[in-house]
């Protein structure tokens, strides 16, 4: 299991009697990316939450070689709207990160540091939330619809970043309805 980050074995999940997905199996090695696809309500986000350990599957097992080293960005950005961009970066523990300046410039947030998050557009908030992912050292990156709210330029920045992470032997699992150029294998759940 040296190169394997995650092994999912026959995962099933149902809410009451409503089956979301069943017998989902996959493995993720270092330097690999899985793109989870499926229709609305098929359980993509739930599968991600099972991978993270937030939700317990109805059946099946998930084996992780890294227990506490996951970067995650879900539908909610985990930002405090009443705080400034800078304070939110401080909350993420990234204020003294050596790559902060570079990433703020890349994402076009450098001149927004004093602005309250509530006054940012949805796309700008998403980019701020992505800083957490861009600057983490985690071996596994889990993203739920990361391209939503981003313009084409920023979608490309994110795709390039994720491709670079794959070259650095990180593992990535993400869901997306927006097509993107990431070297990934597809996991379809219905």
């Amino acid at each position: 299991m040296n190169d394997t980050l995650i092994i999912a074995d026959n995962l099933s999940y149902k809410i009451n009697e409503n089956k979301l997905f069943s017998k989902v199996s996959f493995s993720l090695n270092k330097g690999e990316c899985i793109h989870i696809k499926g229709s609305n309500g098929s359980g993509k986000s739930t599968l991600l939450r099972i991978i993270l350990g937030i939700t317990i599957p109805t059946k099946g097992k998930i084996k992780k070689s890294i227990e506490e080293d996951i970067s995650y960005l879900g539908h909610k950005n985990a930002l405090k709207s009443y705080l400034s961009v800078e304070d939110n970066i401080k909350l993420m523990g990234l204020l003294n990160h050596h790559e902060l300046k570079k990433n703020l410039e890349t994402l076009g947030l450098k001149r927004k540091l004093d602005i309250k998050v509530a006054n940012l557009s949805y796309g700008q908030q998403k980019k701020l939330a992505l800083l957490r992912i861009f600057m983490s050292n985690s071996n596994l990156i889990v993203l739920d619809e990361p391209f939503v709210g981003l313009d084409i330029e920023n979608q490309n920045i994110l795709s390039n970043f994720l491709n670079n992470q794959l070259q650095n032997e990180k593992g990535i699992i993400f869901t997306s309805h927006i097509s993107c150029e990431i070297d990934s294998k597809t996991l379809k759940i219905d």
């Binding site: 080293d69 539908h75 909610k76 950005n77 405090k80 705080l83």
Partner: protein
Amino acid sequence: MKYLGLELLKLRKKTRSWLGPILVFWLIMIAYPLTIEASQENLEIGFFSVLWIAILLSMMFATEDIFTEDYNDGTLEQTLINDTSFAYQVALKVMIHWLLIGIPISLLSFIFSLGTNGNLSLSLLILPFAMMSSYIFLNLFVLGNALSLNKGSVLGAIITLPMALPVLIVLGKSITAIQLEINYSGFIFLLLGSLSIIIVSVPIVVSYIIKAHLE
């Protein structure tokens, strides 16, 4: 320490969360003498009952959205997957709320007590009782708030309010003991014992409840 600083940063910028409960306490204590015949004797009769109830209500307000905001914006999910124990983070969060709200309220209790009865030694004794009771109430309401995380804080308060009643009884008895100059240290130890159990058990229980909510 890092987490402590970050929680403080959030609370500092969200003045309503910590100043609101302190103002509620202050207003109740200011309103009390206005409702009765303002003679010294009358004031002293019901003062301590009003004081403990004011602390109880303030602590209820203090926990009103202690987890709701983090639940709604996704911070709780991030907290859950990071490498620090979730129960430990809950305990720290409660402690910071107590430092910012419980301590000022305890100090105000001392000041109001001194202003009402003019007895320094009695008022000084009020301080540890106010500090311990505020921490206990805070923990109890945190538990209620966790139970009713996505159902509104009133329900949580109703669930946990009966648990606070024994503490109110102990507080009432301790004041009687102090005023009659009989041994009151037993009450201090009783509160201290309860607090030491609550301070450990509530964060653990709350962490499981929140995990269940997020699931």
